[in-house]
Each structure stands twice: as structure tokens, then as C-alpha cells.
């Protein structure tokens, strides 16, 4: 089954991701390469870069950004914004885009869709439609939503698909940045009019809006940006909610092998917008939680390479080898990611106190683990110990010794006790538990005489538990 897609859009200007509403008021939200990677780790199915640089230099920067992104991103990347010609498209595909979206360029020269589809295949060609409602119709806008055309959005979508577009990226200008949900009527009108996937865009404020986009809007994919960049939710949370409502989205990745052994395994981690990840540091032998600190990729690479804990100091903005001045180093025993790869556990052997106050842990002595009491023996183990003693010392008059030395009697009792238990159970009698105790005793004696041990039985049961 083809899964409904959740696509994350990054508006890129001069090599940085910016956000306002797409059509006005911008602020910097981060590095496009890092953000794209982070959204992949959260479970995004695809990334869209919309270039909103106006300048010529901005275009060159965009190609660089696409190149860097394609080298580290392992989900599809669509790039759009300012694509005027088939050659523009070629340059983006060569730089590493998997698909290219076109808006104004197709209005000026609709034939370019046909030529691009013939050259690159229609799976590469995405028509981007920015639509606003006016009366009973939606009209298509160009130039980042500033210029209205006479094109009816629905028929324009149909024409573009006939000419070779393989997908429609449909943004409602009325809803963009408003977070009240997609324009479902618009989305459905276009989705029912064309034979290619439609991506709903503009207006996503919560998971329910995404669900409506798929069900009522009939979108094959939903696109979102602002609510993620503002940290209101994550792709993981949204997908969990959608799954809960029966929308068969691709689940976000969980790390199957959570032990980090090499720098390559760091690729599976999710670093935050500043490139950092929290590290919980634990004493590998005592089990005490020593401290919590931050690391970036460089710190983790240094840790894996040297075997000594390195962190990132947020106050000094510098790489920090634990103990480099105090001598209280921490030798790495093992490094583990949590299930969704956004927190690390470092198990270490400390050379001295973890805390700068001189306390062994940053959480004070109250956080040291309590001594673990020796486990009490279970009654079966205790009984087994008695059987072993009887077998060793063979005291006279002991029933157990008699059983141990008479195989016929042992087997006969095993059969009798089994029959008595069955009969008590069938009749619903209270003595069933006493019969079961008798049987268990005879089972243990028979095991003992047979040269087997109770421990072997436990081991077998543990193995079956898996």
C-alpha cells in the first residue's frame, strides 16, 4: 500500500531557512542541511526546499545548499522557487534534487512542463499552484503570491498534468500561516480533477488538520512547516496521532541497534536545531547517574576516537574534554541512543568526581544507588537445596531418600500424584493446590534422581520467554 506522506517544507533564503508566513515577515530558523536531516530522523517522508532568494547570488547558494543536503539526506528532496527554464531544472537535479517544482515559469511557458517531463520523466516535475478563493473559484497566483492570474486553479492543475506534471503542490494563500487547517474544498476539487498525487499545503496547525487533508481533502501528501519550526510539535508526534486515527502513514524510525560503536552510527541520531544532543552519563560499574551534559557531533566523534568523554560546553561554546583541567576524566565504556535517537546514555568509568563541586555526582550523594540486598531464595530453590542435602547425607528414615533410591516407587508416585491433581481440578476441590504441591515435590525428586537440576528447568523457561 502506498503510504500517505508527511512532507516538511523549508523556505530557504541565501542559504538559511527562514520563516514568517511564506508571503511576508521573515526570521531565521536555522541551517537547511541540519534541519532537513533532523526532520528525516523524526520521520518526515520528504523534504521540500522553496527558494525565496531574490538575487542571482542566492541562486548559486541554493545549488550549494542542495548539493550539501543531497549528500546527507536519504529521503526524497524537492526543490522549487524561481525555476524558469528546463536548464534551471537540470541544474537543480544535477545538484541533487529528486524533483523540481515550477510555478511562474510554467505560467509564462506551459510547454516547459512537456519538455522537462520528456527529458527527466514526469516523476521529477512538480507543478506548484498558489491559489486564493474569489467567489466560487480559486485563482492561481504567481511571484510568491503577489500576482494574481486569470487561471482557475482547478483547470490550471488539469492542464499542467496533461502537459507532463507528475505531482501538484497546492498551497492555499488564504490559509497559509493561519493554522486553521488546509483549504479542504480546494484540495479535494483539485485531487478529484487530476490523476497525479496532490500535496495539500497552507494552514496546518495540528495533527487533526493533517488527517482531514488526507480523508476529506483526498490529498496524497500533506505539507507543513511553521508548527514544526516553532517547536510546537514534531513529525514523530504528528505521525503517532495519525496512526492512532487509522491513517496508514509510514512510522517514524526507531533505532533497532541502539549501541553507538562508530562515527557512522552517529548519522542515526537526531541533533536539535543547534546541532546538540543531551547525554546522560552513568557510572558503568556502580550504576550511579553522574551528570547530564550536551554534545555535538564533533564531541561524540572525539569521544569515540579517544575513548574519553567529550562534551560541548554551551556556556563557553567550545568542545570540552571532561577532566582536561581537573583530571577527573571519564573513560567511555559504552554509548547508547534512546529509542528515537534524540538522547544518549554514556556508560563511563570516572577517574574522580563528576561534579565541579567535588560531589561524586551532579545530583548529590542522595542520587547514589542504594545497595542491592541479596535476593531471598524462592521456596522451590529452598526445597531443591533440601533435596540436595538429603541426597548427600542420606539420613535414615527419610522419605526423600527412599524415593531417590527406588526408581519404581518414584515413577509410580509421579503418576499417582498427577492423577490426584487432575481429579481434584475436575471436581473443583480446594485440595488441588495441595495436590499440585505434592506433584511438584515428586517432579523435583525425579529430576534430582535423573541427574538434572531445577536451575536447568529455569534456564529453559527463561529461554522460552525470549
Amino acid at each position: 500500500m502506498l503510504r500517505p506522506r508527511v512532507i516538511v517544507c523549508l523556505d530557504v533564503k541565501d542559504g538559511r531557512v527562514v520563516k514568517g508566513t511564506r508571503f511576508k515577515g521573515l526570521r531565521d530558523v536555522g541551517d537547511p542541511v541540519e534541519l532537513a536531516r533532523r526532520y528525516e530522523r523524526e520521520g518526515a517522508d520528504e523534504i521540500v526546499f522553496l527558494d525565496i532568494s531574490a538575487s542571482h547570488e542566492g541562486r548559486g547558494t541554493l545549488l550549494e545548499t542542495v548539493r550539501h543536503t543531497a549528500e546527507v539526506l536519504f529521503i526524497p528532496l524537492t526543490v522549487g522557487g524561481g525555476v524558469r527554464t528546463v536548464d534551471d531544472m537540470d541544474a537543480l537535479l544535477r545538484a541533487g534534487a529528486d524533483k523540481v517544482s515550477v510555478n511562474s515559469g510554467a505560467v509564462r511557458d506551459p510547454e516547459m512542463l512537456t519538455r522537462s517531463a520528456a527529458r527527466f520523466g514526469n516523476q521529477c516535475v512538480v507543478i506548484s499552484i498558489d491559489a486564493a478563493r474569489d467567489g466560487a473559484h480559486w485563482y492561481h497566483y504567481t511571484h510568491g503570491g503577489r500576482q494574481r492570474t486569470d487561471l482557475d486553479a482547478v483547470s490550471w492543475a488539469q492542464e499542467c498534468v496533461e502537459r507532463g506534471a507528475g505531482e501538484v503542490l497546492l498551497t492555499s494563500i488564504d490559509r497559509d500561516g493561519v493554522r486553521t487547517g488546509y483549504d479542504l474544498e480546494l484540495t479535494r476539487a483539485v485531487a478529484e480533477a487530476v490523476t497525479v498525487p496532490v500535496i495539500a499545503s497552507g494552514g496546518a496547525g495540528n495533527a487533526r488538520h493533517l488527517e482531514e487533508g488526507f480523508t476529506r481533502g483526498k490529498a496524497a501528501a500533506v505539507l507543513l512547516a511553521g508548527i514544526l519550526h516553532d517547536g510546537l510539535t514534531t513529525v514523530r508526534e504528528l505521525k503517532e496521532a495519525l496512526s492512532g486515527w487509522g491513517v496508514p502513514v509510514r512510522p517514524s524510525p526507531t533505532l533497532s541497534d541502539r549501541t553507538i560503536r562508530s562515527p557512522a552510527a552517529l548519522d542515526a541520531l537526531t541533533f536539535d536545531g543547534d546541532g546538540l544532543i543531551p547525554v546522560v552519563t552513568q557510572d558503568a560499574t556502580g550504576g550511579a547517574v553522574l551528570m547530564v551534559a550536551w554534545a555535538n557531533r564533533e564531541a561524540l566523534e572525539a569521544t569515540l576516537e579517544t575513548g574519553m568523554m567529550h562534551y560541548w560546553s554551551r556556556s563557553r561554546k567550545a568542545l570540552w574534554e571532561k577532566g582536561e583541567t581537573s583530571g577527573n576524566t571519564q573513560a567511555l565504556s559504552s554509548l547508547h541512543a534512546d529509542c528515537d535517537g534524540d538522547t544518549l546514555l554514556a556508560r563511563v568509568t570516572p577517574a574522580g568526581p563528576a561534579c565541579h563541586t567535588g560531589d561524586p555526582t551532579c545530583f548529590g550523594s542522595g542520587a547514589l544507588p542504594l545497595p542491592v540486598p541479596a535476593p531471598e531464595l524462592g521456596i522451590v530453590e529452598e526445597l531443591w537445596a533440601v533435596l540436595e542435602e538429603r541426597d548427600r547425607e542420606r539420613p535414615e528414615g527419610s522419605y526423600t531418600v527412599r524415593l531417590l533410591s527406588d526408581e519404581n516407587l518414584r515413577m509410580k508416585k509421579l503418576g499417582e500424584e498427577t492423577a490426584e491433581l487432575i481429579s481434584a481440578l475436575i471436581r473443583g476441590e480446594e485440595r488441588a493446590s495441595a495436590e499440585a504441591a505434592d506433584l511438584l515435590y515428586h517432579v523435583l525428586v525425579a529430576l534430582k534422581a535423573g541427574g538434572r537440576s531445577w536451575r536447568e528447568v529455569e534456564t529453559e523457561l527463561e529461554r522460552r520467554r525470549g
Binding site: 543531497a70 549528500e71 536519504f74 548519522d267
Partner: protein
């Protein structure tokens, strides 16, 4: 270090695939030269462009590539690269490598290409080791391969279904594997497939 040749038919994005193979622990040379392509530890046929363009890139070299694969050169064909392992395709005139028996046909659904993440029913193969029981992989294709059975030792390794049309998601014969989806666009499980391939090349 394992040295992999990534053949370039002359169109499209090879960056992610190159980096994905490198992450698996190999050195990658992108080449348009068959002498070089067949002289490395393994050959990767990427999945961008059209069958016609790929056939042109193959030129007169089809029989030679086929012999190299029969002689045990490890090979990984992705999407179009998998289709190129067959004798021909409905998409365009011209002969493929013809290493695998069968035909390449258009998907039967009204809506093609198939674009997006689709479920893959896997089987046990070293290349699918560790990808998990529920593999979902990224496809962007209009054509699929119908593998013919014959006496030769080949097996269909995995299957997918698109709007009621079931097709081979992966094939294997000897040391040659074909994947109809894009491992380099299928996130962590896809990268695992690429690194498994490098492990297999080394054994």
C-alpha cells in the same frame, strides 16, 4: 577498501547513492567508461533516467557486462538499473544486459508513475538483513519487472503491490541484486541495504 564503480548514464542525481554507498564503507568512482566500471570490486547501476538513455549508455557492451556478472562480479541495480538487467523493456527500444530472464512492463494502474513510500514483503537475504520485518521503501517508477522462472538459480526476494498490481520489489541471481525501490531514498533501512551489499562484496 572495497572500490565500487557507479555507472553514470548521463542524467540525474547520483549524490545520495554515492554517499549512501560510501557510508557503507566503500570507495565510489562515478564513471561513464565500461572498462573502468567492470574493473572494480563491484558494479552499481543507478536508477535515474529512462530505459532508452540507459540502453544508449550501454552501447555495444551488453554481452560483456552480462559475462562479467555471470563470472561473479557483484552488482547492484536500482530501479531503472534493475530493469536494465533484463533483456528488454516496454518503455523503449533496445536491448538490456539480459542477465535476468523476464520482461519489463508498464504498471497497470491508471495513476503512474508510482511516487511514494510503499510496503515491501521481504524474505531472508543477506542484503535485507536488519531492515526490520515491516520494510517501507521509496519508489518513483512507471515500469516494473516480471521475472520468468527457469532452471537458473534466481529468486524473487521481495514483492510490493501498487493499486492491485503485484510486482518484484527485489530480485537476486548469484551475486547480482536488483531493487525496484530506491534504497538511497529509503532512509535508515535503505542505507542498511547498501551497507549489506558492501559486506557481501567483501565475503
Amino acid at each position: 577498501m572495497t572500490h565500487v564503480a557507479l555507472f553514470d548514464y548521463g542524467a540525474g542525481n547520483l549524490h545520495s547513492l554515492k554517499k549512501g554507498i560510501e557510508a557503507g564503507g566503500a570507495r565510489v568512482t562515478v564513471t561513464t567508461n565500461w572498462d573502468e566500471a567492470l574493473d572494480r570490486d563491484a558494479l552499481v547501476l543507478p536508477g535515474v533516467g529512462s530505459f532508452g538513455a540507459a540502453v544508449q549508455g550501454l552501447g555495444e557492451q551488453g554481452p560483456r557486462v552480462r559475462r562479467a556478472l555471470e563470472d561473479g562480479l557483484p552488482c547492484l541495480g536500482i530501479c531503472l538499473g534493475m530493469q536494465l538487467l533484463f533483456p528488454s523493456s516496454e518503455e523503449a527500444e533496445g536491448a538490456g544486459i539480459g542477465f535476468l530472464p523476464g520482461r519489463v512492463r508498464r504498471l497497470r494502474a491508471r495513476t503512474v508513475p508510482q511516487i511514494g513510500w510503499n510496503d515491501v514483503v521481504t524474505s531472508s537475504d543477506p542484503l535485507l538483513e536488519g531492515v526490520g520485518d515491516a520494510l517501507t521503501a521509496y519508489y518513483a517508477n512507471s515500469f516494473v519487472c516480471d521475472v520468468e522462472s527457469d532452471q537458473e538459480a534466481h529468486v524473487v526476494e521481495a514483492r510490493s503491490e501498487y493499486k492491485g498490481d503485484e510486482f518484484a520489489a527485489a530480485v537476486r541471481k548469484g551475486r547480482t541484486w536488483g531493487f525496484q525501490f530506491h534504497p538511497e531514498k529509503s532512509s535508515l533501512p535503505g542505507l542498511r541495504i547498501l551497507s549489506n551489499f558492501i559486506l557481501e562484496v567483501n565475503t
